[in-house]
Subunit: 180 residues, 2 copies
Amino acid sequence: MRQEDLATRLGEKIRNVPDFPKPGIQFKDITTLLADGAAFREATQWMAGLARAKRVDRVAAVEARGFIFGAALARELNTGFAPIRKPRKLPYKTIAESYSLEYGTDSVEMHVDAVKPGESVLLVDDLLATGGTMLAACRLVERQKASVAACVFLIELAFLKGRDKLSPRETHALIRVDSE
Amino acid sequence: MRQEDLATRLGEKIRNVPDFPKPGIQFKDITTLLADGAAFREATQWMAGLARAKRVDRVAAVEARGFIFGAALARELNTGFAPIRKPRKLPYKTIAESYSLEYGTDSVEMHVDAVKPGESVLLVDDLLATGGTMLAACRLVERQKASVAACVFLIELAFLKGRDKLSPRETHALIRVDSE
């Protein structure tokens, strides 16, 4: 199937929830896609197809929704999975990276032994918005002297230009949303 | 392979982190198991083997670590996945269930359309401790007039007797820890 057809079909499985988490935001609710076993399979297999075109030693993703596609993809590719978490959630020694929010900053952490020097790591999340969280995740991987094979998303809010922030890293998204 | 041998081998992949999240607690760190693609596969396939002995229409799990095995298992069984989340994380209409913590209470939420009446739902998490969160998850499923096929865990802290709390629901755990 052509990627455009798959994007259209899976895009129809996503629910728009108006005014969440605050007025004026159209939230992209992926739970309706996840509820459909065939759609969840197709989305995961599209991601896996991208990954198979390159070397991927490990999949990493940021909690909580990122864990869903991250774990599914690691199993599909038969690799290990490296969870990246909010502060104080990981029990062992960690490194941290901060990123900007609309008001203030937040940070994400990864275990120091989650990825190994020289590894090629695929990063995955459900949605690319401003790209701040994913950029922080990339930096965690790169600080461990591993490389980012690509950043892969189900949905890209293209008008927020998160892809530019992740450049020059390779970025893929199945479903592109062009306006708010 | 006998289940005892698998439990021993995968148990060796789990890291004990002393004094996390507070002094006196030996935290079971599953990230070292997840980092090993073969171990992650074997753990998921053990869970899938239990599921195949019964009807499972859907897999559900509580964030965040529960999403890892939940998503992997839904893909392995080719079913949909229903995320259960902390308050105010899910965008659509939800139902909520509270559970007791050491000090105070917390709650978990599920979308009203996450499971359908009459469905048989497999609940999964990495670790069974007191069972409070999993019991709340079971009640969410049952309030939607679906049934709990079983509660499946990688690790059971048997001395906390969470299994009793989940009774009469079927409960399985691969790795049993008998003392603190």
